[in-house]
């Protein structure tokens, strides 16, 4: 796959939220406000970048220097190794957030440490970074991270505008607007994800239909 493709596949073709359906737990939780979605997206992208590169580097070294027999045995402990690496980077992000952006840390709360168990990160480490070179893993992580952030922000836009009548914390409508509360609650996220996924599929099918 060309480097450009490696990068863009995470944004469209294999979008983590709308196509792979990975990391839905934080997606439901932090897509209430666009500000939080953006912060969560950036934090996840950072962890994804670091962990993908570290895993690619580590498995590259092990593949090169370990005997074939030992390398096969190493497969038994690959998941604990990934988790240690991912958890370390998540702790780094959390410490920096606490120190330098306390307001964001306060609003994201428990979901920052929970990045550790975000399936996208472990998924990319297992499915991509452990089998590919450093540069490809970097592009993969960047694309996936941006795809996740964009998806999160798109959802949050719908939920914040309809559920609170605001965008980025500023009211969009006049005084008479009655917020659609369900959009701010978890069912609103399911509804929005479902409808958006349906719409994306419809677009894809239309496009395919035209091509024939």
């Amino acid at each position: 796959m060309s480097p450009g493709r490696e990068f863009t596949k995470g944004i469209f073709k294999l979008n983590p939220i709308f196509v792979l359906l990975l990391g839905l737990c934080p997606t439901l939780a932090v897509s209430v406000r666009v500000v939080d979605a953006l912060g969560m997206g950036c934090a996840t992208t950072f962890v994804l970048l670091c962990s993908n590169m570290a895993v690619a580097l580590l498995s590259g070294i092990l593949r090169k220097h370990a005997t074939e027999d030992f390398y096969r045995k190493l497969q038994k402990i690959r998941i604990p190794m990934y988790i240690v690496i991912i958890a370390s980077f998540v702790t780094v992000v959390e410490l920096f957030m606490k120190g330098f952006t306390p307001a964001l840390h306060k609003s994201l709360g428990i979901f920052v440490p929970l990045i550790v168990v975000n399936c996208i990160i472990l998924g990319r480490a297992e499915a991509f970074a452990s089998k590919n070179r450093l540069s490809a893993s970097f592009l993969d992580a960047l694309g996936m991270g941006i795809g996740f952030t964009l998806g999160l922000c798109l959802l949050a836009t719908f939920r914040e505008v309809l559920g609170a009548g605001k965008f980025f914390g500023y009211p969009v409508f006049g005084k008479g607007f009655q917020p659609v509360l369900i959009m701010a609650l978890p069912p609103g996220a399911f509804l929005t994800i479902g409808l958006l996924m349906g719409w994306f599929h419809l677009m894809k099918m239309r496009k395919r239909g035209k091509g024939q």
Partner: protein
């Protein structure tokens, strides 16, 4: 097997070292941020105080303890106390700082910590919007700076100037004098109101206890 342990051990050691390094770098800023957040809250609940004492902990007569800060004006006169309070809300523990003057009149409250339902209970921290998105965008393109202080949450402002006997929770559609609960978030509203009430009660009980022992 041992070789596998060594590999895992090396990975863990490297991670641990990196974490230790980051912790050292961020330790100061984290303490600083926590201190600034507390200072800001103290300033909100006791606007007339210029400086504050260190944290005071006094055991209560009926068990438990009152945690508070004393606030002084710039001329050194005592203007009030900032009391720590807290109560379980609908889905999270709500921590609140309550400022009272020596007569027990609430000067202001500030929610320190909560994770209630967004759009419902979390609105105890909602600040009334002064401008719309379009107004803000207009400002951005005109090159104007945003307002320096975002203002205080309107739910908390209801407590200003009240004493402990005037903290009745009014659940809509009822009307009357008291703290008006948030629509659809009565439990959160009640928890916050109770937390305020209890923190003041606890504090006053330590005062009374102190006066008794002085007399005896």
């Amino acid at each position: 097997m041992i070789k596998l342990c060594i590999v895992l051990g090396v990975v863990c050691t490297l991670s641990g070292l990196a974490l230790g390094l980051v912790y050292q770098v961020t330790e100061r800023p984290i303490e600083e941020a926590a201190r600034r957040a507390l200072e800001r809250s103290l300033g909100v609940v006791l606007p007339r105080a210029a400086r504050f004492s260190a944290e005071r902990v006094t055991p209560c007569a009926g068990g438990g303890e009152a945690v508070y800060y004393e606030g002084y004006a710039s001329d050194g006169a005592l203007v009030g106390y900032a009391l720590m309070g807290g109560k379980q809300g609908y889905q999270s523990y709500i921590k609140v700082l309550v400022g009272i003057d020596p007569a027990g009149v609430i000067q202001g409250i500030d929610v320190l910590q909560q994770a209630e339902t967004p759009g419902l209970g979390a609105r105890i921290e909602e600040v009334a919007a002064r401008e719309t998105l379009w107004g803000r965008l207009h400002q951005v393109f005109a090159g104007e700076a945003p307002p320096s202080s975002p203002g205080r949450p309107w739910f908390g402002q209801q407590f200003d100037g009240r004493t402990i006997d005037r903290l009745t929770l009014i659940v809509p559609p009822r009307q009357g004098d008291g703290i008006h609960a948030l629509t659809g978030a009565t439990i959160t509203s009640r928890a916050l109101t109770d937390a305020v009430e209890e923190s003041i009660e606890r504090f006053l009980s330590t005062r009374r206890g102190g006066a008794d022992s002085d007399g005896g």
